[in-house]
């Protein structure tokens, strides 16, 4: 074979092998590491799978935050004013976590329908609202429910 063609062939073979490896990694990486957002109304309607990583977002129900006195356990409820989802979390909550404010919790639903959160994200400044939460609230609002 002509040396230039041989060289090209090698380059092409190499690029194909390398990119398919990368594509394989991407596929493997995506499996189990992406999670879908559900507003509380959809969780209540049973649309969210149990035991799989999901995110639930909405407003923290006023008066729902219960802190354990001897550990870092926290319980609270998240609502989109159509339904509420109970959340359990162990750890330190973000600074801007507060009752009546927007929040997104990531975790998995247990068999009782409680979200066991591994991560809780609050908004990061006074005026900002996570887009998912804003969207969920808007949907609830147009469905004719007002807070």
């Amino acid at each position: 074979m002509h040396p230039v063609r041989k060289q090209r062939l090698w380059a092409v073979v190499f690029i194909v092998v390398f990119s398919s490896l990368a594509a394989g990694l991407v596929g493997y990486g995506l499996r189990g590491n992406i999670n879908l957002f559900f507003p509380p109304a959809e969780v209540a309607a049973g649309l969210a799978p149990a035991g799989q990583p999901i995110r639930v977002g909405g407003m923290v129900v006023v008066g729902s935050v219960e802190r354990s006195t001897d550990s870092l356990q926290v319980r609270f409820a998240v609502t989109d004013y159509q339904a509420t989802v109970k959340v359990e979390y162990e750890g330190i909550l973000p600074d801007l976590f507060a009752e009546g404010e927007g929040v997104v919790a990531a975790g998995a639903l247990d068999e009782r329908g409680v979200l066991r959160a591994s991560e809780v994200l609050a908004k990061h400044d006074e005026n900002y609202m996570p887009p998912e939460v804003a969207d969920a609230l808007l949907k609830a609002n147009t469905a004719g429910v007002t807070p």
Binding site: L30, N35, I92, H124, P131
Partner: protein
């Protein structure tokens, strides 16, 4: 009055940018000398008026002019002076103005330092940069005017800057990051100018290389500053989150890394010409995409300010225009570039090609992970998020594959090399690296750790093979000192950057493998032992800052044989906004950081406390600083100054030299 003058200055800057985008380009097409030679003056004029506009906004911030809406929303009388100034870019409108300012600074730098370029080339380069400036100035003036007033009801006090942003990290992180981000526009402009002019010899690579390296070094530094800021200011001790906005700055860095390497091949050997052009276009497009992602508010992120859909549409259109236009131009012009220069499979060219492949694939996988949620949302498939494990699974193996080749790179020869020679020169470094890697984890922690072993093997392989290369290069000279002095500065720049990469990899892997972290409840008087350190919670105190009140936990940390030291993390409440913020306390060291942060109060006296022991975490940023320093060092290489002085003849030499 001053804000209106600032607004006016911005409009004048737009007019200058428009003329810059059109006149010199027309001149280069019609070979009209006067039109072309206007380019540098227009570039400088644009820069002066943008700077005036920026100064006007800065004056409004520093002088507490709350009649300007932006100041009223993002500043406060109690804010310390330095933060009043940095508050200028702590919001959407101001940070965009900073973007434009940095762009005009780069444009005028090109105008000032490239006077030896052939006039048509300079005219085209500056025109392209003028065109980009037009886009961003329009964006600023029409969708994000920073000078809007709050008349007639002027507030007496401002809403304050987000406390997270009241920090030295924010004072320096955005300007440095933008220097890098925007600096790739120069590489882009050179590439487009080369395509427009149809003169696609290797000389454009030599002209654009120092600019690209500088931008790349700034970007490295900017990303490092952001990571460092996140580490101590976001409060929870993480240093990289694969947050979409971090990715937005990381993707141009990855593509830029590929570009820096492929420019080396194009400059030295006249190869990969069209590929390098494509990379230059890709890198700047990713900078623009990053700007879109950050500024349109489509993403949930610390960097997203309150969003406005019209802004997103504007940047998206501009992005489509720039990417579409430049790719069309590329498609029309690039196929003419067939190079007939050959190289063997085992050669430096192949290794650099491999580097390009790795970094391009890394860029694309990060891009995919970042855009996946947007894509699924646009397709109506629901709101997904892609977590850090995805990026780690995809990204880390790529880097692990790149590093063995990185060790070969510096010592390899252009055109043709042999496995035999590599074996002869590198067997010793390789064996030594394997031994060091096998021993390190057991000596450090007393147990085997595969990830740490791999990282230490690869990093010491990099380091040792570079030492060997240094030795090989200097042994033919009269003495060691003479040999060291004979090497060009560009060589040391490369060494420094590769060393920085090794240090950074060590930092990343060792920190993630050996860090110890504990969240627990502690009351004053209690103590806890973590990683050989005894943390004693001494007392709780109330502290008053300039614009906040804080609860301060006072801890003393003891370790056998060392003097104890004190750490005082705070929980602050900012007066103007009432926002709560965690201020972590960190004892920094070369080999470990001790990190304490206060969570929230539990019960009567107790607090949730986070304790961290983070070994080697400083190496991450130390490595990044070395990388950036290497980039800057390579730019000072004498050959660039010489090349610019006799630009045309040098290009001819390069054209015929390596064939």
């Amino acid at each position: 009055m001053i804000p209106e003058l600032g607004h006016l200055a911005l409009i004048i800057a737009l007019c200058m940018a428009l003329s810059l985008a059109l006149l010199p380009l027309w001149g280069s097409w019609r070979n009209h000398y006067h039109a072309m030679s206007m380019a540098p003056s227009l570039a400088l004029g644009m820069c002066v008026f943008t700077a005036l506009s920026f100064t006007a906004l800065a004056l409004a911030f520093v002088g507490d002019d709350f009649s300007v809406a932006l100041v009223a929303n993002h500043s406060n009388r109690l804010l310390p002076g330095a933060f009043k100034f940095s508050a200028v870019w702590g919001n959407h409108e101001g940070s965009l103005l900073l973007w434009v300012l940095v762009l005009s600074l780069w444009t005028s730098a090109v105008a000032l330092f490239s006077t030896q370029l052939p006039l048509p080339v300079l005219a085209r380069v500056l025109s392209v940069m003028g065109f980009i400036s037009v886009g961003f100035l329009l964006f600023s003036l029409f969708t994000s005017n920073p000078f809007l007033r709050t008349l007639p009801a002027i507030p007496t006090e401002g809403n304050d800057l987000n406390p997270l942003l009241q920090d030295i990290g924010l004072v320096i992180h955005p300007p440095v990051l933008y220097m890098g981000y925007v600096g790739f526009s120069v590489a882009f402009a050179f590439a487009i100018a080369a395509l427009l002019g149809g003169r696609l010899d290797a000389s454009w690579a030599r002209w654009s290389r120092p600019w690209t390296n500088t931008a790349w070094a700034f970007l490295s530094l900017g990303i490092m500053l952001g990571s460092w800021w996140a580490y101590y200011e976001l409060g929870w001790g993480g240093w990289w989150f694969w947050d979409p906005v971090e990715n937005a700055s990381f993707m141009p860095w990855l593509a830029g890394t590929a570009l820096v390497h492929s420019l080396a091949v194009t400059e030295k050997r006249g190869l990969f010409k069209s590929w390098t052009l494509l990379l230059a276009i890709l890198t700047f497009s990713l900078s623009l995409l990053g700007t879109f992602l950050v500024r349109s508010g489509v993403l949930t992120s610390v960097h997203a300010f309150a969003s406005d859909p019209s802004r997103g549409v504007f940047i998206l259109l501009f992005l489509a225009l720039v990417v579409g236009g430049s790719l069309t131009l590329y498609a029309l012009r690039a196929p003419a570039l067939q190079s007939r220069i050959r190289f063997a499979v085992l050669s430096r060219e192949s290794l650099l090609l491999f580097n390009n492949l790795v970094f391009l694939v890394a860029t694309l996988t990060v891009l995919f992970g970042t855009l996946f949620p947007l894509l699924m949302d646009a397709l109506g498939q629901g709101k997904y998020s892609v977590g850090p494990p995805y990026f780690n699974i995809v990204f880390l193996p790529l880097m692990a594959v790149a590093m063995p080749m990185m060790g070969l790179g510096p010592i390899s020869r252009w055109k043709q090399d042999s496995a035999q020679r590599w074996r002869r020169e590198l067997l010793l470094p390789m064996a030594a690296a394997l031994v060091v890697g096998a021993l390190f984890p057991s000596l450090y922690q007393g147990s085997f750790n595969p990830a740490a072993t791999l990282a230490v093997v690869l990093s010491s392989w990099l380091l040792l093979s570079m030492l060997k290369d240094c030795f090989v290069r200097t042994r033919s000279a009269r003495g060691f000192i003479a040999g060291v002095r004979r090497q060009p500065l560009g060589y040391y720049g490369m060494m420094c950057a590769h060393l920085g990469f090794a240090v950074c990899v060590l930092g990343v892997v060792l920190t993630s493998q050996y860090a110890v972290e504990k969240d627990l409840k502690m009351s004053p008087g209690e103590q806890f032992e973590l990683a050989g350190y005894r943390f004693q919670f001494d007392e709780l105190a109330a502290v008053e800052g300039p614009n906040y009140l804080a609860e301060e936990g006072r801890f003393s940390v003891h370790r056998e044989g060392l003097p104890p030291f004190k750490l005082s993390p705070q929980k602050r409440r900012y007066l103007a906004s009432g926002q709560i913020m965690t201020e972590a306390a960190i004892d920094a060291g070369v080999f470990r950081d001790i990190f304490i942060a206060l969570g929230e109060p539990i019960g009567e006296h107790a607090w949730a406390v986070r304790l961290h022991y983070k070994p080697f975490v400083r190496w991450i940023w130390g490595g990044a600083i070395l990388i950036a320093f290497g980039g800057f060092l390579s730019v000072t290489d004498r050959r660039y100054r010489r090349a610019v002085r006799s630009g045309a003849s040098a290009s001819v030499l390069v054209e015929h030299g390596p064939a």
